[in-house]
């Protein structure tokens, strides 16, 4: 007892000091953990943006193309069928000549052959030209100004991805071509500008990464989200209302409950295999269709929605139900008139988070044929959007990351930026909804 009599309130005992030190240490750990997390996030975001922003800009070349009648419409009668017989390969000389003419017009001296001069343009230029001619056959014979994409190496050179020192073995570009590019940039013929086609366009083959866009895949993702929303929300809400408000508490409902929680933890690839077996092989739905993708993602999202809906219903105080029942409402009236409106913000938040999760999912799509060179036809109707083969944003990003040309790599990062914008928007919406409508008791 003599010990305690000596302690003062002002001087800390060793034990208190120890406890205080422990607390300080714990706080430091917490701050360190948050700092590490923030650091990782900064690294990730800066990485994504520094690599991906390039995809939103593209290099364009403006040239005047003479639409030679002798090449495009030999018979000269402007018959569309005859014009269509000229394939894109037949347009190559026109493209070549247009660059040669431009170089001559500017008075640039170069030893390059016509083929190498035309080579600074995208291989997709012929397609663009042919499409124009078929749409405007009356323009044959005239000289028209076109704005073509530059090929990916030229684009990379302007963006700093392709360097002069490292093109020694490259077959697609030569130092002389880069000299020409420098001169054309000075003359204002080659310019770098914002590329809307990346956001709205379709996928392109391995030879023309400069023309690839994520727009069609975005529509694929959108169609899938419609299916998920249209199926998962009503089914999920109906199931949770029944389980929470009406179902008797017995062994059967317990088993169902446990299984729903288990389902939420099932890896998404499993749903992909299930989708392949049931929807494609058994029900004969078309492969690569966003409808099937949507059905698979619905299965994946259902448990998330059910769990969050049940939590939201549980959070509504029983007094509200009791009051409704007390004034003579039927059980259904009590649920639909009083409980459900109060639980709605929670349900919506859960649904949006479930959708965001489904939007970023790639694994199940691998198995139902939504990865590859698929997103090349933009759907024309709603039914087309659901049934015609399409890809999805994360699947498109995965596909680009695999391709050989480094220019696709840049596009993969650009695609990630777009996907992130979508996810952040959805999550912000969920937060706003919760903030504005949530009630606490």
């Amino acid at each position: 007892m003599s010990d305690t009599s000596k302690t003062s309130l002002l001087a800390l005992s060793p034990r208190t000091k120890q406890r205080n030190a422990a607390e300080k240490r714990f706080r430091a750990y917490g701050v360190a953990a948050i700092a590490i997390g923030l650091l990782m996030l900064t690294v990730l975001v800066t990485n994504i943006f520094s690599r991906g922003t390039g995809a939103f800009q593209q290099t364009f070349v403006t040239v005047n193309v003479e639409l030679l009648e002798s090449k495009l419409d030999k018979k000269g009668n402007r018959d569309l069928e005859d014009i269509k017989k000229v394939t894109t390969f037949g347009y190559n000389p026109l493209i070549r000549d247009s660059v040669v003419a431009k170089v001559e017009e500017l008075g640039i001296q170069t030893d390059l052959k016509a083929k190498d001069l035309g080579g600074i343009l995208s291989k997709g230029a012929v397609g663009q030209l042919r499409e124009f001619v078929i749409a405007n056959p009356d323009k044959i014979g005239e000289t028209i100004e076109f704005r073509f994409l530059a090929q990916s190496r030229v684009d990379g050179y302007l963006k700093g991805r392709v360097h002069r020192e490292s093109i020694g073995n490259d077959k697609s570009i030569s130092a002389e071509q880069l000299d020409l590019v420098d001169q054309l940039v000075d003359a204002g013929v080659i310019v770098k500008s914002f590329n809307m086609d990346f956001i709205t366009g379709a996928d392109a083959s391995d030879q023309r990464p400069e023309a690839a866009g994520i727009g069609v895949a975005m529509l694929g993702s959108l169609s899938m989200m419609f299916v998920v929303l249209g199926l998962a929300l009503p089914i999920g809400v109906a199931a949770s209302i029944y389980l929470e408000e009406f179902a008797p508490k017995n062994r059967l409902t317990d088993i169902i409950e446990v299984n729903i929680s288990n389902l939420a933890a099932v890896p998404s690839i499993v749903f992909g295999i299930l989708g392949l077996a049931v929807f494609i092989n058994y029900m004969h739905l078309p492969t690569s269709a966003p409808l099937v993708g949507g059905l698979v993602l619905t299965l994946m999202t259902l448990p998330t929605i059910i769990i969050s809906t049940r939590a939201a219903l549980k959070a509504v105080p029983p007094s509200i139900r009791d009051a409704a029942l007390g004034v003579g409402a039927s059980k259904m009236q009590a649920v639909f008139h009083h409980v459900l409106p109060l639980a709605a913000p929670g349900i919506l938040t859960g649904t949006i988070i479930g959708l965001a999760q489904a939007l970023g999912e790639t694994a199940p799509l691998l198995l139902i044929g939504m990865v590859g060179f698929i997103a090349s036809n933009a759907p024309e109707t709603l039914a087309d959007g659901l049934l015609a083969p399409n890809s999805a944003m994360p699947a498109q990003i995965y596909e680009w990351a695999k391709r050989a040309d480094p220019a696709f790599y840049e596009r993969a990062w650009g695609g990630i930026i777009i996907l992130l914008v979508f996810l952040v928007t959805m999550n912000t919406l969920a937060v706003i909804l919760r903030r504005r409508f949530e009630r606490r008791w």
């Binding site: 697609s172 029944y242 044929g369 090349s376 480094p406």
Partner: protein, 346 residues
């Protein structure tokens, strides 16, 4: 009530879509990831030049593609399978059992397989023997079969620098692996005399000796890459000593990061492969279901377009991308337009 109604409508949606599904108007292609870039180049040009929609090309590997191809006849099965190797007897049989009997085999050209390392590292001039001595499980030392003791490239060949052995080779699910085993490891096995020793050790059984030849060491020197060439490239970027196996087209798109090694003194290029000088190459194929021609719009046109001179010829876009044009392209074109099936007397 709402639950019943919803289930009913969900089922109705599924039923409606199932009937709508029976109207496919684009060609569906799946298979080898080596053929994928070529097939997508053709598909894109096909969509531009014809009134048919652009065909859908999925990847997944030769075996997976052929398996799906052999699932049966009908609009919910694929029309064309891409393969980086010829179809096997077993697969033809599986096809026939599912009712897929008339198969048109189309050889589109040749693909070179190259060995490449980091651009800043040492350069190499390989022979198949070097690769056998570097990667095989057992090699012959002083006339006796021993477990491979080589640690650096200098151990393998005195002309090489003392760089640690590290190889990234395609995993067994890739068609490329087979070519690597046949044209490099097996050739090296025979050239170094290990084949005879293994023949002897396996009781003169040729098959067993071949199998022993291509069994590679498992001590981490040779790493199987099951992913794509982009993964191999990433491995080399993180381990500068590594040497990877790539397709010619992939190397040609990444010449700023990779340097290519010669094989038996020949630099790989579309020219040296088409003349047959560069030894490590293989034919690429696609297979068409004859039963689908006339049912799926544009299928025959797609096949014909693929092998046309403008596309698969030596000046075409495929050759520009890295495909080695087939010298017998005319024969292939005739076979495609005649719809000559495999095993037929066409």
């Amino acid at each position: 009530m709402s639950f019943v109604k919803l289930t009913a409508s969900a089922l109705a949606i599924a039923a409606v879509s199932a009937t709508a599904a029976s109207a496919r108007d684009q060609v569906q292609v799946a298979g080898s990831s080596t053929v994928l870039p070529y097939a997508s180049i053709v598909a894109e040009a096909f969509g531009e030049n014809f009134d048919f929609p652009t065909p859908v090309v999925e990847s997944g590997g030769s075996s997976a593609g052929l398996k799906r191809f052999c699932e049966g006849v009908g609009e919910n099965t694929i029309d064309v399978a891409n393969a980086s190797r010829a179809i096997r007897e077993k697969e033809i049989k599986a096809c026939a059992e599912a009712g897929v009997t008339d198969i048109i085999e189309v050889r589109i050209g040749y693909d070179g397989i190259v060995f490449a390392s980091d651009i800043a590292g040492n350069s190499f001039e390989f022979t198949p023997s070097d690769w056998f001595l570097a990667l095989s499980d057992q090699i012959v030392v002083d006339g006796k079969l021993v477990a491979n003791p080589n640690k650096t490239w200098a151990d393998v060949n005195a002309n090489f620098p003392a760089q640690d052995l590290q190889a990234f080779i395609p995993g067994t699910k890739h068609g490329t692996r087979e070519v690597f085993e046949d044209k490099v490891i097996l050739a090296g096995c025979e050239a170094t005399g290990a084949f005879e020793a293994l023949m002897h050790a396996n009781g003169e059984d040729k098959k067993a000796a071949e199998k022993a030849c291509i069994s590679l060491r498992t001590d981490g020197v040779s790493v199987d890459i099951d992913g794509d060439y982009t993964e191999t490239l990433a491995r080399i970027e993180s381990n500068k000593d590594g040497i990877g196996v790539f397709g010619l087209a992939f190397y040609e798109n990444n010449t700023d990061k990779l340097q290519v090694a010669t094989m038996s003194g020949i630099v790989p290029s579309t020219e040296s492969i088409s003349t047959g000088e560069y030894p490590v190459s293989r034919p690429l194929f696609f297979y068409v279901k004859k039963a689908h021609i006339g049912v799926i719009p544009g299928l025959k046109e797609y096949a014909e377009f693929f092998v046309s001179d403008e596309v698969a010829g030596s000046d075409g876009p495929l050759s520009e991308y890295g495909l080695v044009a087939d010298p017998e392209l005319v024969k292939t074109q005739e076979a495609v337009s005649a719809e000559a099936v495999m095993g037929g007397n066409s």
